[in-house]
Every structure is written in C-alpha cells, then in structure tokens.
Symmetry: C2
Subunit: 309 residues, 2 copies
C-alpha cells in the first residue's frame, strides 16, 4: 500500500477507472421501508438501521469506487449510538478495500485541532481510522497546521473547504480583496501545503473541496492548485452534471473525485430507477446509479482517459 493518502487514492482511481466517491448520508426518512419498519424509533434502533444500510451500500459499491465519504452529521444526530454506527461503517468500508473520507468539516485552534487530527486521521492509528477528513479554514493557517502535521505523519489526507456547492457559500468565499476572491487565497494556501509534500502521483495529501455547482471556478481552481486533489460535492441532487465537473480533472483524468450521496443511496426513489428496481431492490438501484455515474464521467470528462485494470 503506498504510504501517502494521495498515492493510495491515485492508485485506486486508476485501477478502477473511477473517480466516484459515494457519500454515506443516511437519512431516516429516505431509508428503504424494510429497514425502517422492523425497528423502533429510538436512537439505538435508528443507528442500527444506519449501520445496516451503509454496510449494504458499501457491499455493492466497493468494487466500483475508490472511496466512501460518511457524513458525520447524520451519525452525530443520533448521539453516541450513531457514533458507534459510524465507527462500524468505517471498519466495514476498510474491510471491503475502500478509502474512507470522513466529512466532518472540523476545525479548531492549537492543541484542540491536534485532538481532532489525532482522533480522526490514520487507519489503525486513530480512534476513527479515517484515511482523510474534511476541514474548514475559517480559523486561519495556524489552525490547519496540526491537521497537516498529523496527516503527513500518518499518511492520511485532508480536504480543506475552498469553494462550497451551496448558493450562500459566496457570502464569505467570494469576497474580493486586492482583486482576489477569498476562495483563491484559501486555494493558494492549500496549493502550498499540497505542493510541499506531493507524492509519486504528482498530488499531495492536502486537497480542497470545490463544489460541482460552480463549473467555472472549478476549472479555475484546478489550474490554481495543480498539486491538490479536489473533492467535488454537489453532483446530482444539488444540480451538478458530468459536464459541470469536467474542469476538475487534469490531462490524464486524475485530480478530482466526485461525490454523490443521495443520487446513489436513494436511487431507488429516483424516477429512472424506481420502476426498474423498486424499494425492495434498493441495493441494485444504488449499484446501477453508481455505474451510470461512472459511465457519464468517463464519457463527458477526462476521467475517460484513466486506465482500467
């Protein structure tokens, strides 16, 4: 196994010819009826259902994608039982050969940031065993140092929020000062961190979150951060298309991983899959949606140039 997160990610993306990340966002109201109806409505029961649901998703997508991205919020919503389910889901993803990016958007200062970093980063080296974690930059460069140090020390990765996919993200991220939007400053900082420790694949383990819903900025940020992996949310239910994310890939088809959560997890509720599969075959619907997304990215982006084993 390559020692840096960046190289492990590149290896998996190339091997599978797939830059897709499946976001594990269990949402109680959208879970297949069979998983909801056989259980009570308390936190423990819901957490158990989330665990089963995510493990079953992992089982179908593991041969197809390099990584899953559990969204901490949905597990945290259930309190301690949810956190236990999160840990189990991470372990199951690893057992199935997947990289795990914990989406926690954590940040704090000094030794508190170190506690987050030590707690999350590093498979077999931390309580949560994440291969990578999303972090927020609002507290500034010194708040990122402990995360970067621990990531490098443990061969783990980070994705720093740069340009998020939501409409209101621009409130702070687009503020222009000295002719430069704020997100570009964050991007320059991320590029420095990434370039300082680039792996064999050409990318470093400090990456950036850039939303699929801003295609022009995605291409701009691909150019501004030539050493940073981009984690691209906003595909599918948020409106981002394969054409929208095309600008995120480099010439060889590497450099971006595109997340889809609801569009895959709850594909059985989407018109294009509902009739073919129905709620009972929700796993098959998730698998089909993953395959369709991979095909779309291969057809409409440079991800089509990725070699396949």
């Amino acid at each position: 196994m390559p020692s840096s997160f960046a190289d492990r990610l590149a290896e998996a993306v190339r091997r599978l010819g797939s830059p897709v990340v499946v976001g594990l966002d269990p949402r109680w109201e959208e879970l297949p009826e069979a998983l909801r109806s056989r259980r009570g409505n308390n936190y423990e029961s819901k957490a158990a259902a989330y665990g089963i649901f995510c493990r079953e998703v992992i089982d179908v997508v593991a041969p197809l994608v390099p990584a899953v991205k559990p969204q901490a919020a949905f597990f945290e919503e259930l309190g301690p039982p949810g956190m236990t389910a999160l840990a189990e889901v991470i372990a199951h993803a690893h057992a199935r050969g997947l990289l795990v990016i914990v989406d926690g958007k954590r940040n704090d200062i000094g030794s508190t940031a170190t506690a987050y970093a030590r707690g999350y980063l590093g498979r077999g080296q931390s309580a949560w065993n994440a291969d990578a974690l999303t972090v927020s930059p609002y507290l500034g460069d010194d708040s990122l140092v402990p995360f970067v140090d621990v990531a490098h020390e443990r061969g783990a990765g980070l994705f720093v929020l740069v340009k998020t996919s939501n409409p209101g993200g621009g409130m702070l991220q687009d503020i222009v000062s000295d002719g430069q939007p704020l997100y570009r400053r964050v991007a320059e900082h991320v590029e420095q961190l990434a370039a300082g420790a680039a792996g064999d694949c050409g990318y470093g383990s400090i990456g950036a979150v850039v939303g699929a819903t801003y295609p022009a900025q995605l291409a701009e940020l691909r150019a501004a951060m030539p050493h940073a992996w981009l984690l691209v949310p906003g595909y599918g239910s948020q409106g981002g298309t394969a054409a929208d994310v095309a600008g995120g890939f480099d010439e060889g088809g590497l450099g971006a991983i595109v997340n889809n959560s609801r569009g895959i997890l709850f594909a059985y509720r989407r018109p294009e899959y509902a009739e073919r599969f129905g709620a009972v075959r929700w796993q098959a619907a998730a698998e089909a949606a993953t395959l369709d997304m991979i095909a779309q990215l291969r057809a409409e982006t440079r991800a089509g140039r990725l070699g396949q084993a």
Copy 2:
C-alpha cells in the same frame, strides 16, 4: 425556566454575579495522576477518566458559574467511548443546574446542517441535549439558517465564530473588502439574527465567538452587535486578562461570558495554586481558580455591576 437560551443565560449570569464559563477540555497528559494511573491506556479507560474528571469539575464549579463548555474534540479523540462520556458529562452538568454550550464549531449545508442542529440543540429535545452550540460561518448565510431555525424552535442558542483568539485567525477574518474586515460582515449578519429574536434580557439567542486576545476588536464588536451575547475564549492560558475582556460587557455588566478551560481545570499545575493545593486537591484548586477569575472580572470589568442574589 425562561424559554429562550438568551434569557436563561442572562438569568443565571445575574443570579450568580458571574460571567464565567468553564471549558471542559480534558487532556490526558494534564489529568491528575490519580485519575490516569488507576486505568489502562485504551479509549474506554481514558473516556471513563474524562467522564469522572469532568463530573468532578462540574461538582465544584456548578454553584459558581452559569455554564460549562465541553470541547467536543477531546471527547471525539477517543472515538465512540469518548462520545458516550460527552453525553454523560452533559447530563451531569444539567443535573447540577448548568447550561451547556457544546463547542463543536460545526457547519455544513442544507439538510446536513439540519442534522447537526437537530442532533445537538435543545435540552430534552436532541441526542446531545446542548443548550447551545458553536458554529462556523465559512459556508455562508444559508448554512446558518437550519441552525438558527432549530435553535429558535427549541429555545436553544448558537455562538457563531466571528473573531477567534488564535494569531492566525486574521488570515481570513481580517481580510478587508470595501473598507470592512471580514469579521465585521459576519458580525453584522449575527447581529441581524440576534436582533430579530431578542429576549426579555435584550439579547437574542444567536451570539458570537470573539477572542479575549483582541481587546480592541472585542469592544468594537460589542458595539457592532448590541443584541448578541459574546462568548469570549482566550482568557488565561492564551494570554487574555480581565482588562482585555472588559470591552465585551454592556453597561449593566451583561452581554459577555468569558471562557476559561486549562486555567481552571488544571489550576493544580499552575504555580499560584500548586503549592496551596497540590495534585491531590486538584478540585479545590479548580474551585479557587474559578473564584479568583470571578473576582478579577468583577473588579476590572462591568461584570462588577451584576446583581447578586
């Protein structure tokens, strides 16, 4: 019990004549030897020690302060057992009559933000039962809406990061655009949210985090956000003094709560308390440090004008 977080906080601050928040940041290396030595070194044992430590701190500070602020990072560092300890610590603080501000600096977009808000906010109404939560604004105004809505619905509170206490906070927070630093924009947004739903005490339940280490900005932000409670970190071990936080209080001595974590929790290691109490009487040292901090704030700030029961 008043229905808004802002009014409950004002009632407690006035009743006790104390604007002090005790930050619950258990750090393994700094725990009293007796708590470390009788246990193993695994996550479960450490989490159990954190639980005992925080409950014993709570027992001595509960008659003296309105609120405690558990720092999620230190509990998360220990994985699921740490999260169970966090839930127990919150329950114990409530049993002792304290308000609980969970310091998680959470943020996300849309329904993910809603999951965080529903999971954390509201005593007896959420898995974590927090009276208030710290949140980050990097994702913009729409990312705060779900937190604000749930807070209002449940009589809970928020503290939005505005100007943090660390040296590097200025990297983004001090960026000037149209003659205004970024933190002022965030402050204006917080003031709007706070003013829109101010309670009987004159303050709303949407407050701001403003560090003690920037006294001039603290006074500036007190004026800019007349309806927002300020949660002031950075006192004590980060260098902030009573004089530094003076600008955070309004004419009547309300409006700011000042956090101290290490300076109280680990007072037994500080020269001024070590000899008097020693490691064995670490609880008495924490109590003395709390009383000293209250006395300093009463002597050197308008908190001295708070009525006492």
